[in-house]
């Protein structure tokens, strides 16, 4: 029974932890401008993250090696360092977006400027990362993140014209939008769904929780049940925006537009659930990106890392995270718009995707690490298909950003 409970807990955590500020903002923006014409990208991204998270989780469980340890082993010191610098900076950008997101959620509730919330959010993340137990922080944010179900419930409460919604699912570029803008947001949505930190965190988290080959079953359930259900939450955000924001041509410039459809549908109670869900999801993602900044650097240099060690036994790991948080807070205090930071972070994530995913694909085929747990044919076929998609998204991202004027 307790085993079943653990399984259910893991899945629920995966669902609630799936959505972050990137998903919240990008899905709402896309829904408000393109309707459901880009839902296929989210579905593609969710399948992609399932394929690769499953590989990374299996590598962590079987070989006990986390992602960046593998990247340095396979790519060597120089290419590994280039990968580290790019991955760390993009993760830092995502960290800024998440901490800014926490501040935006508090602004939504209190009306007080995010600039006042940013240092507090940064401090909160630091305290939790330093003091809280790994499983506690993961489970608490994951379960409370389930409040985001308010988006899914709101769809039904809004009584949409289902036939009209269904027609919208056919991918097409609205006449009012430039094709480059459509594809720019397609890359952004894909980046938001497959953000590299999810893999750093997932595989390092597996080692934090001392996975072994026996944990593969549980890990698979989390990935193949939890992530797709999390993806449904993600799509629900876009559907809500399509029903309410698109017809009125409301642009998403803060979280209040993201929340508007839910408030319109379910009033105060739905809003309460939503706020708890958003706060937990975004704060959880802030924790995950912060941990990822420590994981990547410590794993490259071979330092001791992990929440399972006392901070004194992993001092450099904690120092990196503290430094990352300070930088993120300073960047945000310059007054940059957290929504804009988020939009850039998902596109840059798309650029960085191959850096993370190619080494995972290689190592999960290596019997030297994996023994009999190497990839099967299906994993490899899907892995290669997504590798091509990832490469295309990565290469197209910058040109699309320039041509579309970053989606203007």
């Amino acid at each position: 029974m307790s085993k079943l409970f653990a399984l259910a807990l893991g899945i629920l955590t995966a669902i609630g932890g799936f959505v972050d500020i990137g998903d919240l903002v990008t899905n709402a923006v896309v829904g408000s401008r393109f309707g459901l014409g880009l839902v296929w990208v989210t579905i593609l991204g969710v399948v992609g993250i399932c394929v690769y998270a499953n590989m990374a989780g299996r590598v962590a469980a079987v070989s006990g090696r986390a992602t960046f340890e593998i990247i340095r082993e396979r790519l060597g010191a120089r290419a590994g360092m280039a990968n580290l610098v790019a991955s760390f900076l993009i993760n830092l950008l995502t960290m800024c977006a998440e901490i800014g997101g926490v501040a935006l959620v508090f602004q939504l509730v209190t009306g007080i400027s995010p600039l006042l919330w940013i240092p507090l959010a940064g401090f909160g993340v630091w305290i939790v990362v330093w003091r809280a137990k790994f499983s506690a922080l993961e489970n608490a944010t994951g379960l409370l993140g389930l409040g985001l179900i308010a988006f899914s419930v709101a769809i039904f409460l809004l009584h949409p014209n289902w036939g009209q919604l269904g027609e919208q699912l056919i991918p097409r570029i609205p006449v009012t939008e430039d094709p480059s803008t459509y594809w720019y947001y397609a890359v952004g949505l894909f980046g938001a769904a497959m953000t590299p930190y999810e893999v750093f965190f997932f595989s390092s988290g597996g080692i934090e929780e001392k996975w072994t080959a026996k944990s593969i079953g549980t890990m698979r359930a989390n990935v193949f049940v939890g992530f797709p259900l999390g993806g449904i939450l993600s799509i629900s955000i876009a559907v809500c925006a399509t029903i309410v924001l698109l017809p009125q041509a409301i642009a998403v410039t803060s979280l209040s537009q993201v929340a508007l459809p839910v408030i319109q549908a379910g009033g105060t109670i739905a809003f309460a659930f939503l706020v708890v869900g958003m706060a937990a999801a975004v704060f959880g993602a802030a924790l995950e990106t912060t941990l990822s900044s420590g994981y990547t650097i410590a794993q490259y240099f071979g330092w001791s890392w992990g929440k399972f060690r006392r901070p004194a036994k992993a001092a450099r790991f904690h120092l990196v995270m503290l430094a990352g948080l300070i930088i993120a807070v300073i960047v945000l205090m310059t007054g940059v718009d957290p929504i804009a930071v988020t939009e850039f972070s998902v596109v840059f994530s798309a650029i960085a995707l191959p850096l993370t995913y190619i080494p995972i694909l290689i190592v999960s085929n290596d019997r030297g690490y994996m023994g009999r747990f190497v990839n099967g044919r299906v994993s490899n076929a899907l892995g290669i298909v997504f590798l091509v998609v990832i490469l295309v998204a990565s290469i197209a991202a910058i040109p699309l950003m320039i041509i579309s004027g970053a989606g203007q």
Binding site: R74, L75, G76, A79, P359, L361, I362, V363, N365, D366, R367, G368, V374, N375, N380, G383, I384
Partner: protein, 109 residues
């Protein structure tokens, strides 16, 4: 001498023609002493690319087929030169003795 002094150096045949670059050093553990000693067996030389094989030089790593094929192709023609056939080493080059041997660079493990 450290490993980096040898890695990526140009390899010249006895007549001074460049035949490739050092991409790895093969070692053998000798068990006479405890702890054992790792002694250099020879230099792995690639005539084409000094870039990483990403592990695909090993014969048991063949998947995904597309990646393995691509990386093997980039490094086709790699060979092992036994240490006894090395004549001279300096900062940039490794010169081989007349009549040097080209042995299989296939995965030792």
């Amino acid at each position: 001498m450290i490993l980096s002094d040898l890695m990526r150096n140009d390899v010249l045949d006895p007549s001074g023609d460049r035949i490739g670059r050092v991409i790895d050093i093969r070692l053998r553990l000798e068990g006479v002493q405890d702890p054992s000693v790792a002694r250099v067996v020879g230099l792995v030389v690639s005539p084409r690319s000094a870039a990483s094989f990403l592990g695909y030089e090993r014969s048991d790593l063949t998947r995904p087929v597309l990646l393995a094929g691509l990386l093997r192709w980039m490094h086709r023609g790699s060979f092992l030169v036994p240490w006894s056939d090395v004549l001279r080493i300096d900062s940039r080059e490794v010169r081989l003795r007349p009549g040097y041997r080209r042995e299989s660079a296939a995965d030792p493990a």
